[in-house]
């Protein structure tokens, strides 16, 4: 569907938002972003997810106005902002390095955007108190940046970006420098904050768990600097568009095979019944079946049946909260994941059978 038509629909449904049309960005001969067409609905929390070097940060910088696209247009609420300078866009951005001004205090950092707009001192003070309350740092206004911990700096950077009530809130891997526990707390906090403020937010991350936790919508970008899939976290997890997405989001068993007509595929001589096939796949085409480890159940011993794969247990990884069983099925490996409660009675070296429910087998082209 052409994007212009999509926008017409979207305006009706979502009250507009941000549109990227055919965005292309090149640095010299290096392509950073290719053919990106995106709609970011108003008030949503969107994650740009991808491995490092996939162009997700460049895309965010293009939206912020810190880079100009080599081609394409950026529209906000039907207004072309492609050529607008960063300081005229009225967006808030949190940088990976946080980029807090070291010569200013916490309060001065937060009110920077208000003071350069020549807002009255009393208004600045009130807004500052409000924001410090919001990020739970009351009484920190007079502190110097060097006197804060990592998590506190994080909050100051967020408060500073929110001071002008931005039209768009952009975050470039702001949590990557924090330790695991604090990061999870901040993810939740940031998500709740966004809910409360209802502000359109874009977060760049390479952490799929972070993206799954926080976003309404995930934009998966690949090493080819293109967008691979856009959808809700569960949609993308359950129905990955291609092998890259299936592999990048969580673990997946990717089994190469061919389509043998109907709802059947052949994987290493085993005939499997799968869920729906993509329309483009015809009989004899090479395909990949993606199936999540938690959808596969393992039973002890050799069992015959539809979608049953026999093999030998090569490894059992029991980490307490979950159990992973590695099966060697005549040349290809299958990983199954189960909870301790439903743990099958198998040990390393035992023969076992993996049961693949047809509805969980997602067929991907090649």
């Amino acid at each position: 569907m052409p994007l212009s038509a999509l926008r017409g629909v979207a305006v009706g449904f979502f009250m507009a938002g941000l549109f990227l049309e055919d965005i292309h960005k090149q640095f010299g001969s290096v392509v950073a972003v290719q053919n990106v067409n995106l709609h970011i609905p108003h008030g949503r929390f969107v994650c740009f997810l991808g491995p490092s070097g996939c162009g997700k940060t460049t895309l965010l910088r293009l939206i912020a106005g810190l880079e100009r696209p080599s081609r394409g247009r950026i529209l906000l609420e039907d207004l072309d902002i492609t050529e607008q300078a960063a300081h005229e866009r009225h967006f808030g951005m949190v940088f990976q390095s946080l980029a807090l001004f070291p010569h200013l205090t916490v309060g001065e950092n937060i009110t920077y955007s208000l003071r350069i707009r020549k807002k009255a001192a009393a208004d600045c003070q009130r807004r500052m108190d409000e924001l410090l309350e919001l990020v739970r740092l009351p009484g920190y206004a007079g502190r110097h940046i060097s006197q804060l911990s990592g998590g506190q700096r994080q909050r100051v950077a967020i408060a500073r970006a929110l001071a002008i009530e931005p039209r768009l809130f952009l975050l470039d891997e702001p949590l990557s420098a924090l330790d695991a526990k604090l990061r999870e707390d901040m993810q939740l906090e940031l998500r709740l904050l966004q809910h409360r403020l209802g502000i359109t937010t874009i977060l760049v991350t390479h952490d799929q768990r972070e993206a799954m936790t926080m976003s309404d919508l995930i934009v998966v970008m690949g090493s080819d600097n293109q967008v691979h899939q856009v959808g809700t976290p569960l949609e993308i997890y359950r129905h990955p568009a291609d092998t890259f997405v299936a592999d990048f989001l969580g673990n997946s068993n990717l089994l190469k095979g061919t389509c043998s007509g109907g709802n059947r595929v052949t994987v290493s001589g085993n005939s499997l019944i799968v869920g729906t096939l993509p329309e483009t796949v015809a009989e004899g085409n090479a395909i990949t079946v993606s199936i999540r480890p938690e959808d596969i159940s393992v039973v002890a011993g050799v069992r015959e049946g539809q979608n049953h794969l026999q093999g030998r247990v090569t490894f059992v990884r029991d980490v307490g909260s979950s159990v992973e069983i590695y099966l060697d099925c005549n040349g290809f490996q299958i990983i199954s994941q189960s909870t301790p409660k439903s743990r099958p009675a198998v040990r390393q070296g035992d023969s076992a059978t993996a049961v693949l429910p047809p509805s969980a087998c997602v067929v991907l082209t090649a």
Partner: protein, 286 residues
Amino acid sequence: MIGDNPIGVRAHLPILYPAVMLVVFFVIPFGIMLAVSFFQREPGGFYTTDFSIDNYASLFTALFGRVLAFSIFISAFCAAICVAVGFPFTYFITRMRRKAQVVWLVILVSVLSLSAVIVAFAWSLLLSQTAGISNFFVWLGLMEAPASWSPGFWALTCGMCYIAFPYTVLVLYPPLSRLDPHLPEAAQTLGASPVTTFFTVVVGSLRSAIVATLIMVFAFTLGTYLIPTILGRPQHWTLSVLITDEAIYRSNLPFAAAMSVFFMIVSLALVGLTMLVGKGERTADR
């Protein structure tokens, strides 16, 4: 451990060498100069050992006061010009590609290889009536007739700034190249125009580097002797000229020494005051 105070004689050994050098080449000569400043001049001879404050007493003349004030003024003025021009200049260099940065820095360093004599005569020629750039301006039609701009106050300023400028850039380069490029970008996303960003964030976050550079250039230009004699008129002669005059041509070493000591005390006091003001501003921020 780094940051801990070293304990025992052995731990202090590494600083012994610089300490000895400092004493031999700095403390002892200064001690001699300090001693000589209290000696008595012997007319027709050298000096005799004595302890008199006559040399210091005879400092308090209108001429000395005027020359001292001018020396301090011209050095401060040149330091201000050098930093005002050098700071944005260095900022733009640090934003260039690596290769271009190296080219600019090599050009600047090569300027340092020119001796003050060459620089002074080059400027005096460049600003002269017969062969100077005013002839070029006449040819362009900007001026009626060629003018003589050297010697004079502005010729002196040009010469001194030319000598001090490469040092200014070299001192400013490290802190400016360490500046997080995300800082100016953050300011822009917060609504600051490029000019506002430059003054509020780039200048603001490097204030201590700017003060340090001002002091460095000020101290560096205080000692200029040659440039004022070539590019300045007698009223533009700095204290260094006066001291040389007294020491070499009038053989009055005790008086020259007294002038030097007094000059040093005044400049140290000024530098200290500047640092104190800078520090006060920072604590006021807290």
